[in-house]
């Protein structure tokens, strides 16, 4: 009996430790969210959204160009990345037995886990050395990060479509490609859109590749071959500034806007796909 009590006590201790691990992991999350809302909330007002970025240490101004820059770069990256990702995903799901599929799947994993700074220097070597620091180089880098994620989620979403739906369509004499494009894609629509949105949320916060491609700027968008501003770069630049009174609140303000964008997408997506968690 005594030994049994000892075993039970040990078991209870470990359960408590496991719950404690959960609490420890959630403290940073709560701290980050709370500090961003409190410190960023002070800096954010209407002019913060629409005015140009001031030089470091100057009062006034806002981060309008950074919001615009992030939207343009992420938008352009999605224009490149989404079609390529979705079509690759379709191939991997529809021809899953082919030898190309298994190699492509492996390389896709490699690309997903490639450090973002490596993608940054790759984009620098490929594009910046030719056209200079530019929006297109940044969009290329982000597209390279986005393609494997979209490919993966599209493949998974299509695999979830029941075989009976596909068989029913084929039995009606519809060609396979038409079945895929109209019926299978339609059933997998929700999963694919989820994947695209999550990948957009992911690349919106990327900083390292942008540092080596769009460089950052204080001004409004000036063309696709010019450097531009972006929210993550503004956060980084303001946080490195020595002027605590003017620039640090701006870093938190920019962080608040970025975090609202990203977590907004995440919360909406998780809410609409919650039945997956049972």
């Amino acid at each position: 009996m005594n030994k049994y009590m000892l075993r039970r006590r040990k078991s209870q201790t470990i359960i408590i430790l496991a719950y404690l691990a959960l609490v420890v992991a959630l403290i940073p999350l709560i701290s980050i969210l709370a500090e961003t809302v409190i410190r960023g909330g002070i800096a954010v007002n209407l002019s913060f959204f629409i005015e140009m970025i001031p030089p470091l240490g100057q009062p006034g101004g806002g981060i309008g160009p950074a919001i615009q820059g992030t939207m343009i770069v992420v938008g352009l990256a999605s224009l490149i990345g989404v079609p390529i990702g979705v079509f690759s995903g379709i191939y991997l799901a529809e021809f899953r037995e082919s030898s190309l599929s298994s190699v492509a799947r492996f390389l896709n994993d490699v690309l997903t886990n490639m450090p973002s700074i490596v993608i940054g220097i790759f984009s620098w070597a490929l594009i910046v050395t030719v056209v200079g620091w530019s929006v297109i180089a940044g969009a290329f880098a982000l597209a390279v990060m986005m393609i494997p994620i979209v490919t993966r989620t599209t493949e998974e979403a299509i695999k979830l479509v029941p075989a009976t739906i596909r068989e029913a369509a084929l039995a009606l004499g519809i060609p396979q490609w038409k079945t895929t494009i109209t019926i299978v894609l339609n059933s997998a629509k929700k999963g694919i859109i989820t994947g695209i949105l999550l990948s957009i949320a992911r690349i919106s916060g990327e900083t390292a590749p942008l540092l080596l491609t769009i460089l950052g700027s204080r001004f409004w968008f000036g063309g696709f071959t010019q450097p531009t501003a972006a929210l993550p770069l503004s956060i980084f630049n303001f946080s490195q500034s020595p002027y605590s009174a003017t620039d640090w609140p701006r870093a938190w303000g920019a962080a608040l806007i970025l975090i609202l964008m990203i977590l907004g997408i995440n919360v909406v997506v998780r809410y609409y796909t919650r039945e997956r968690y049972g």
Binding site: R7, S11, L22, L26, V110, M114, V118, P175, L211, A255
Partner: protein, 336 residues
């Protein structure tokens, strides 16, 4: 009468139709397959050009310094004596990356496994959904915001409360000696640990949940406590757990912005955890845009990228191999 007349007509019609459809299907399917195949090749093209461009960019540095780049310990793009060549050696960067990733794993893995166990074994299902959601939010926060939080919240907290205490109690160890600076290797490792927790805990929760219930039932029937059952689960899922840890390691090695902002960015072989340091990614992020001259400077940074690229490939292949083996074992066990 009517039916008989109709029947052959119907069949010949069907045959005709199927011919048309079949003909069209052949062409349409071929076209569809060709187009999607070409698009799927994107990943081959991207990785080919990535390898080529990074090799090409680091060629000058490889030719100048050869293998000594890997164990050199000086980083002088602009030597004080102008007659001397600039010299580059990456050993302190590699060392910094190894130290930060190992400490991050040391802190992050037990916490992540605890979370994985709590979610798959101990906690009620309802609770599971909410907590999984929060852990996933932790993964969604951008690296630069972790860095910002690290600079303004975590560093003052650690410097004020934790570090003096650590030095007072563990100061006899060389790694806890020296002046305490806020941005240092330990701060970087702690931020990395926070960032890899969502990855490792999500994967380990999934591999724990995939353990067949018969395993739990059998050991519970023998009178095991919850922890003894959990031990069986961990043992059963151990390859998956190792795969999860390697995924976390990959993330820690490649992490750039957050660690650049909190590690102090100083090029030296760190001996104390309270020293500022550098990692492979953070020197690229910090110096690349200013490294336009001399040409060998940007080439040396490219070679740092090449080292990182090779490490990432290696970690990936390893994780892949282990997960693949784990799946094979799991399948084998199911058939038994």
């Amino acid at each position: 009468m009517k039916k008989q007349k109709h029947l052959p007509n119907f069949f010949s019609n069907l045959r005709l139709k199927s011919k048309i459809i079949y003909g069209k299907r052949g062409f349409g399917d071929l076209l569809f397959k060709t187009i999607t195949t070409i698009i799927t090749l994107n990943v081959f093209i991207i990785l080919f050009f990535m390898t080529y461009k990074i090799l090409e960019g680091s060629r000058l540095s490889i030719q100048t310094y050869g293998l000594s780049f890997l164990w050199g310990t000086t980083w002088e793009p602009f030597p004080a004596d102008p007659s001397k060549m600039p010299s580059f050696g990456a050993l302190p960067l590699i060392w910094g990356t190894i130290v930060t990733s190992s400490i991050a794993l040391l802190i992050g893995v037990p916490i992540s496994l605890g979370i994985g166990l709590a979610l798959s074994e101990f906690a009620p299902k309802r609770f599971n959904f909410v907590v999984s959601f929060f852990v996933e939010l932790l993964a969604a926060i951008p690296s630069v915001i972790y860095g910002l939080w690290g600079i303004f919240i975590l560093i003052p907290f650690l410097q004020g409360n934790i570090y003096p205490f650590l030095q007072a109690t563990l100061g006899f160890l060389p790694m806890f000696q020296g002046t305490i600076r806020g941005p240092n290797v330990l701060t970087g490792s702690i931020v990395l640990a926070i960032m890899i927790i969502p990855t490792i805990s999500a994967v380990s929760r999934d591999v724990f949940s995939a353990v067949p219930n018969t395993q739990r039932e059998a050991i519970t029937a023998l009178g095991a406590t919850k922890w003894e059952t959990a031990k069986i689960v961990i043992n059963y899922a151990r390859s998956g757990v190792i795969g999860a840890i390697i995924l976390g390691l990959g993330r820690a090695v490649g992490e750039t912005m957050a660690i650049t902002m909190v590690i102090g960015n100083s090029f030296n072989m760190v001996s104390s955890l309270f020293d500022p340091g550098y990692t492979l990614p953070s020197i690229i992020a910090n110096e690349f845009t200013e490294a336009s001259y001399p040409p060998v400077y940007s080439s040396a940074l490219m070679e740092v990228g090449l080292v990182l690229f090779i490490i990432a490939l290696f970690i990936n292949a390893l994780a892949r191999l282990i997960v693949w083996r784990a799946l094979k074992i799991a399948k084998g066990a199911e058939t038994i």
